[in-house]
Homo-oligomer: 343 residues x 2
DNA sequence: TTGAAAGCGCTACCAA
DNA sequence: TTGGTAGCGCTTTCAA
């Protein structure tokens, strides 16, 4: 069923039917009723492409997934983010679209999105330090919002980010407070903006406590299970091994745990760990929530908020870009104990 | 830049330019060269909506995400599946679209997809036993493929599934072989097709070994961390507790581990566990691969295969539906040991 | 080998 | 309050 046939059935013009269905005020109540009833009866839905062609709006939000395996998409919490975002988007009639492209072509796809008119806006995931996609998107005039931020980019852009610096500063302070002085940091790739911020928080807390920052305790790579495993083994085999480890990813944390256990040590006694591992409880409002559940629900929330910001931006393109900071909760539990006495 | 302007610039008709760009044979080589060069220069991309309107194809694959929190989307390996699928899709020029809908409206969205012409085909996730979405999709003529199968549906449909029955049968046999006779099964919701198949494999192995199937050892619910935790505590507190536990989900397994540790037992010694937990090694071709990595890569592969089947189906709509079975590897590792002696 | 023109299904302007 | 009609940007006959 299309508009033309529906109009014929009703003995009305396409114009009137379209207006009735789109809530225009100049349609008589009687006509509108009749039209709506018929539309329901014939299960009529306007064709998206025709509508989009006529209005210039796609009602689709794009998201680009670089091909390289270890990126966002394969992060297990990515699904939660998408679930949150798409919930908000669907309330406003937007669908989400994913395009997978080879890393090298990533900037091409944005031009293509723009030229093809395939999407109304895009979400930028996993921003790098000084991420050139931001100026690019501004230049080609494709509305976007960044999930995270990008140090070094001075032009304005909208983002929703978690206060990574503060979270890692607090976590480090907490470990220092427990008596730890050899605290390792298993971090993401240095090029990732969040990784730099996390390191900054970690270093700030150490400096404030008068503890020297030791490069031998800091590791940085793509956050895989193996990375966490390999570096934890190496850290624990060192001359003066860490008494605490902060792992910046749930995936890497799996490897951290395994390495500790294989070394014959006990988490929370011989080595403290602050991470997203399940072994941790989640202290939030004094409640003990399974950690994985908690993280996933907050990521989901972030998705909802980000989507709302993007919708607002699309509807008010001239407003200054929204920039939202979310606070991360401190992740502490059974695996985090006082520093062991060493002789 | 659009076709009309491009044609004007070239002093050609839209028809010729279109033909040149779409590889029609009747265009002279010289003209094609000239057109392609100009298209590149002006960074011309055909408008998706206009093209779709004219051709009747959307070049988009839909996926519906029910609103209920615990569904597929929030399964941490969902992202891997999507990554695999979208890689294949993008090779054929398809994008993936996600629509989030309240559970009650789930069948509406398919009619809407069809009516709106928003997608060319859909992927059906998490099929139930006797899933009525399958006859619905057949009825409305929207091409689809099921990730999994649906017992009780007799009409033909395409699917890609993992042999859950065999995987759980093998796993159970393996535990029996190690001397276990009290083997618990922590399973997904009974309504889910895969849950029934897993249980069938489990029961078949027990029966073959002459071990009675004990309902007190079988738990079924949405696979959350808490579910795994709660039921494992309960199982271990029973009169005659299990010596082995099979957990059918990575998430639930987090809770299983926690419950075992809190009970003061040791995995692999007091209780054997077969699951997707990180503690396990992954025996595959004799190699020791981190379990999480292994699972995720095979899910990714499943996504690629499924996407290929769907593309084939779109291009040859009259061919019989493809039905692919993938074998699951047995997940066994450090947490799986011989049955403890009980007096 | 090229071009003119009729749609695809809808919105939005202008007229009635 | 309603209708006629000109696009939106493309593909695809049909004609030349």
């Amino acid at each position: 069923m299309n508009l033309k046939r529906l109009a014929e059935e009703l003995g009305l013009s396409q114009t009137t039917v379209s207006r009735a269905l789109n809530g225009y005020p100049e349609v008589s109540e009687a006509t509108r009723k009749r039209v709506e009833e018929a539309a329901r009866r014939y299960n009529y839905r306007p064709n998206s492409r025709a509508k989009g062609l006529a209005t210039g709006r796609a009602m689709v939000i794009g998201q680009v997934i670089p091909t390289s395996v270890q990126h966002e998409m394969v992060n297990p919490i990515f699904g939660d983010f998408v679930a949150g975002a798409s919930q908000t988007f669907s309330r406003y009639g937007y669908d989400m679209m994913f395009s997978r492209v080879p890393d090298v072509d990533e900037s091409d796809i944005y031009r293509e999105y723009r030229a093809r008119g395939a999407v109304d806006a895009v979400i930028l995931q996993g921003p790098l330090v000084n991420d050139q996609r931001i100026p690019l998107l501004n230049r080609i005039g494709l509305p976007f919002i960044v999930h995270g931020r990008s140090t070094g980019i001075t032009e304005p852009y909208a983002f929703v980010d978690v206060n990574n610096t503060r979270a890692f500063q607090h976590a480090t302070e907490f470990l220092v407070h427990l008596g730890h002085r050899r605290i390792a940091l298993i971090n993401g790739l240095e090029g990732m903006d969040f990784a730099q911020r996390r390191r900054a928080g970690y270093e700030a807390a150490l400096k404030a406590a008068g503890i020297p920052v030791d490069p031998a305790l800091m590791r940085s790579d793509e956050m895989t299970e193996y990375f966490g495993y390999r570096e934890t083994r190496a850290l624990l085999a060192q001359e003066d091994p860490p008494t605490a480890i902060m792992a910046a990813s749930m995936i890497a944390a799996l490897g951290v745990r395994r390495a500790i256990e294989e070394t014959g040590l006990t988490m929370g006694r011989d080595v403290s760990v602050i991470t997203h591992d399940d072994d941790l409880s989640y202290l939030k409002n004094g409640q003990d929530v399974p950690i994985f559940t908690a993280i996933r629900s907050s990521v989901r929330k972030a998705g909802e908020i980000l989507a709302q910001c993007l919708v607002d931006q699309i509807n008010a393109p001239d407003a200054p870009p929204e920039q939202r900071m979310l606070e991360a909760d401190l992740l502490v539990g059974r695996s985090t104990g006082p520093a062991p006495q060493r002789t």
